[in-house]
């Protein structure tokens, strides 16, 4: 102790103490701060950087170099990663040419690239994140809750998407696409982000549980066997009327011709 106390006024003591304090602080920080954050930060930034590059090549001609939007495409500031994931992983984006509505086509990016694009767009402004499986996958719902999903679907969705989710027409060549075969994640993201003509059904309006119930209803509806025979296109009275005339009346007229031609024939 004498050694330290006798030299406490030594000219280098203060700088040494400062260095020591810095070491302590740095050491404390290294111990106390969560280590994964710092490592994630680097991959995240790499991902964002990769996304930025992909964005500049594939998206910026319409959405602008910084995603600010242009006359050709809307701004992506604040749309969130979920919107990007929905649009790109269903093949709606990138759009081949300006259309009334982006159609579902072949997916142009792989999963990593989509994640990168989503991460980049999320940095432009806060928006809904890509939902996790536990969020969108319905599990442990009772029959009543699934049926309630049907009620919610008919109240909020069927006006455009049809009661069976078969889709429907909207003005000027726009349309509500069919929901048959659409993944749970994409249905969830669509409700969350309101792509194309669709309104946003935010978590305040249709709660995550409601969304799960709607997804569960659609899942069950589309997995069920088709009671009553061939679905005939499943588009309701129009196809039913068509089949009435073609099959019903067609077959019966054929029989009528056969009967009239059979037996002793009055010329």
């Amino acid at each position: 102790m004498r050694f330290l106390s006798s030299r406490r006024r030594h000219p280098v003591a203060k700088p040494l103490l400062l260095v020591f304090a810095l070491f302590v602080m740095g050491g404390l920080y290294a111990i106390l701060a969560p280590s994964d954050v710092s490592s994630a930060d680097t991959t995240k930034s790499q991902q964002v950087e990769a996304g930025r590059k992909l964005f500049a090549v594939g998206c910026s001609s319409c959405h602008g170099l910084n995603g600010q939007g242009s006359s050709q495409g809307p701004t992506l500031v604040g749309v969130g990663a979920a919107a990007v994931d929905f649009q790109v992983s269903t093949g709606r984006m990138p759009l081949a040419y300006p259309q009334q509505q982006a159609p579902q086509t072949k997916v142009s990016y792989n999963d990593d690239e989509i994640a990168a694009l989503a991460a980049y767009v999320q940095t432009l402004g806060p928006g809904p994140e890509i939902p996790s499986a536990s969020q969108y996958q319905p599990s442990g719902l009772t029959d009543e809750e699934v049926a309630r999903g049907g009620e919610l679907f008919r109240t909020n969705c069927s006006a455009c998407h049809n009661a069976e989710g078969a889709g429907g027409a909207l003005p000027n060549g726009k349309y509500a696409p069919s929901l048959v075969g659409v993944s749970d994640k994409h249905i969830y993201e669509a409700m969350l982000t309101g792509p194309q003509q669709m309104p946003v059904f935010s978590d305040q309006v249709v709660t995550p549980k409601d969304k799960q119930e709607i997804i569960a209803y659609l899942q069950t509806l589309h997995e069920r066997p088709n009671n009553g025979g061939l679905a005939l296109g499943g588009i309701g009275p129009v196809s039913e009327g068509l089949w009435t005339w073609i099959v019903g009346l067609g077959v019966l007229v054929a029989f009528a011709v056969w009967i009239a031609a059979k037996g002793a024939k009055a010329k």
């Binding site: 009334q100 060549g173 009671n227 011709v257 002793a264 024939k265 009055a266």
Partner: protein
């Protein structure tokens, strides 16, 4: 019934006058007792003797009405089954049945019982689907039947009233179908009911009062399902049954019409007796119709009410359409521009009223008055039991096709959203196209059909004067080629020329026409002259006897080497005179005289009944 007597006489000849008394089989012997018992009390024998031998002509198009009749019988049978389980009540209940996706949902008892029939009653879904398919077929067959009657002119005297009964049946059939469509109280049928509620409200001034009267207050209330149920299972079926009975009784009374042909006159019916030929054919056809409907009910899904969910006024589904027979009204309303008046405190919804109530009324009024309009134009007061070939009345045929075209475009309008999504076109463009097409389409269809009919008349005349194409090409010594024409049979010539010919009337300018009608009626006469010119002005005149004889004579002169039509000649009249065909004079003269023996009527397999 001249024919059966002749047949019996021939059999008697064969047996050399010594026919042994008929030996009945065991079945007849067993049946004779009860039959005799019934006859003594009900007089069935004399009744049957008269009616069982009734002659009906044979043609497939005469069976279209039967499809409707048999569909109706299937409707009655399956409908009775459905009433055993259906509950016509709008009281709320919570579903607790087999169908998982509605469990715990609040709904009306009507809907709940419909889902119950579909999932929990043995055979319920099959019978429900059969009932619905039969209803769709019933109206479709009625429409086809009415088109057959229209295009062949079977509505002419003395059958105008029966035509009106048919028009009534069709109108009531639509209402009956709609009432049935509304009973399940699912989202789709409720939307349809709302649509009709709109139609009723659109009636100027009194609409809302009528709505309150029908629904017992504000829409939807809790009365409409029981009321529709009463109408659907009691009131309307009773009316339909009564109308069908009258419709068929008049068919029996008037006797069936027949297509023109040798041996067929306005005064006879050529065909087969009800028993046994039509008993077997019509009876068999009933089971065919029943079978086809059963197969459709078993194999083809129709109106899956469980997927639509219960009706709540705040819900709707995309692609909501009525059943096909109301589709034209739906379409008219979909394509109608938004015309609306507000006068004082009232709303005049022309956008709903004109295409909805107006179109429905127009359809049935036009159908109803048409026979009388045509009769006014033709001035024909004679009875018609021989059907028209559609080509021989081009204007009527053209009217019919124009009406079908108009109906078809309205119909398309009802599915404009389906067209938009399935053919990837804009909903608005479909609508704008149809707004024009419903007016332009019928006009084009009228002109084209009329021209086709007149073309077919020319083809008939061609066969009459120049014979049929034989397919044999002859090379002349000079090197030219021509196709040899063979004369058509007298029977065919008769068929081609038997129709009554109407000519446009003319009105003189001096205040009287050539019939000496006074000036007082001149305006009326002028209107009729205009109408006859419009109706018959473009018709091809039937060749006169002289023309046919001339054609035949030229053929005789030139022999087998006579010129065919057209190849070496440049004028139509030359074509006439050089045509080669014989036997025409015979055929033609048969056209108007009643005296000729019916050609071909002495066939063993045919029977003729006098009117």
């Amino acid at each position: 019934m001249a024919k059966p007597a002749a047949t019996v006489a021939r059999e008697a000849d064969l047996a050399d006058g010594k026919t042994p008394p008929k030996q009945f089989g065991p079945v007849f012997k067993a049946a004779s007792g009860p039959a005799g018992w019934a006859d003594e009390r009900l007089g069935l024998a004399s009744l049957g003797k008269h009616n069982l031998r009734k002659i009906f002509p044979d043609h497939w198009s005469f069976l279209l009405g039967e499809i409707a009749l048999y569909s109706f019988i299937v409707l009655l049978l399956t409908g009775v089954f459905l009433t055993l389980w259906y509950q016509p009540s709008m009281d709320e209940t919570t579903y607790d049945g087999t169908y998982q996706l509605l469990r715990g949902v609040t709904m009306s008892q009507a809907y709940s019982s419909t889902v119950h029939i579909s999932f929990d009653i043995r055979g319920g879904l099959l019978l429900r689907q059969m009932h619905h398919w039969a209803a769709m077929l019933f109206v479709a067959a009625m429409i086809c039947h009415s088109l057959r009657v229209f295009f062949t002119g079977a509505f002419r005297k003395p059958r105008e009233l029966n035509w009106l009964l048919g028009v009534g049946l069709m109108g009531i059939g639509l209402i009956e179908g709609f009432a049935g469509y509304s009973l399940p109280d699912d989202l789709l049928s409720g939307t349809g009911l709302r649509f009709v509620d709109g139609l009723i409200r659109s009636i100027p001034l009194v609409g809302t009062y009528i709505e309150f009267f029908i629904f017992g207050g504000e829409y939807p209330g809790d009365l409409i399902i029981p009321r529709l149920y009463m109408a659907h299972i009691l009131l309307i079926p009773a009316v339909i049954l009564g109308l069908i009975a009258a419709h068929l009784a008049l068919v029996v009374y008037h006797k069936h019409t027949q297509y023109p042909g040798p041996g067929r006159k306005e005064s006879n019916v050529v065909g087969y007796p009800l028993f046994p030929v039509y008993m077997a054919k019509a009876g068999g056809f009933f089971f065919i119709v029943f079978g086809v409907i059963t197969l459709m009910g078993a194999l083809m899904q129709l109106n899956p009410v469980w997927t639509y969910g219960p009706y709540t006024p705040n819900q709707v589904t995309a692609g909501a359409q009525p059943d096909w027979y109301m589709g034209f009204v739906e379409g008219a309303i979909r394509i109608m521009p938004n015309w609306e008046w507000h006068i004082g405190g009232t709303t005049w919804s022309w956008n709903i009223f004109l295409p909805g109530v107006g179109l429905l009324t127009a359809l049935f009024v036009i159908m109803g008055v048409y026979p009388f309009v045509e009769r006014w134009v033709t001035g024909d007061k004679s009875e018609h039991h021989i059907l028209d070939r559609p080509r021989n009345n081009p204007t009527r045929t053209a009217f019919g096709v124009a009406a079908m075209t108009c109906y078809g475009f309205f119909w398309m309008g009802g599915g404009n959203d389906i067209i938009a999504t399935h053919f990837h076109v804009s909903l608005n463009n479909v609508t704008y196209f149809l707004r024009v097409a419903v007016f332009v389409g019928p006009v084009l269809a009228f002109l084209i059909t009329k021209r086709i009919c007149i073309g077919l008349q020319r083809a008939s005349e061609e066969r009459l004067l120049h014979g049929a194409e034989s397919g044999i090409i002859i090379r002349h010594p000079s090197g030219g080629y021509e196709e040899k024409h063979t004369p058509i049979t007298a029977e065919e010539a008769y068929t081609l020329t038997q129709h009554k010919e109407y000519v446009p009337i003319t009105v003189g300018g001096d205040g009287t026409d050539h019939n000496g009608v006074s000036k007082r009626d001149l305006g009326k006469q002028k209107r009729r002259a205009l109408a006859t010119r419009f109706y018959f002005g473009d018709n091809l005149r039937k060749p006169t006897r002289a023309e046919i004889e001339e054609a035949a004579a030229h053929f005789d002169h030139d022999g087998a080497n006579g010129h065919g039509h057209g190849e070496l000649e440049d004028g139509h009249s030359n074509g006439h005179s050089n045509g080669h065909s014989n036997g025409h004079s015979n055929g033609h003269s048969n056209g108007h005289s009643n005296g000729q023996a019916a050609i071909g009527s002495d066939r063993d397999d045919l029977e003729t009944a006098d009117r």
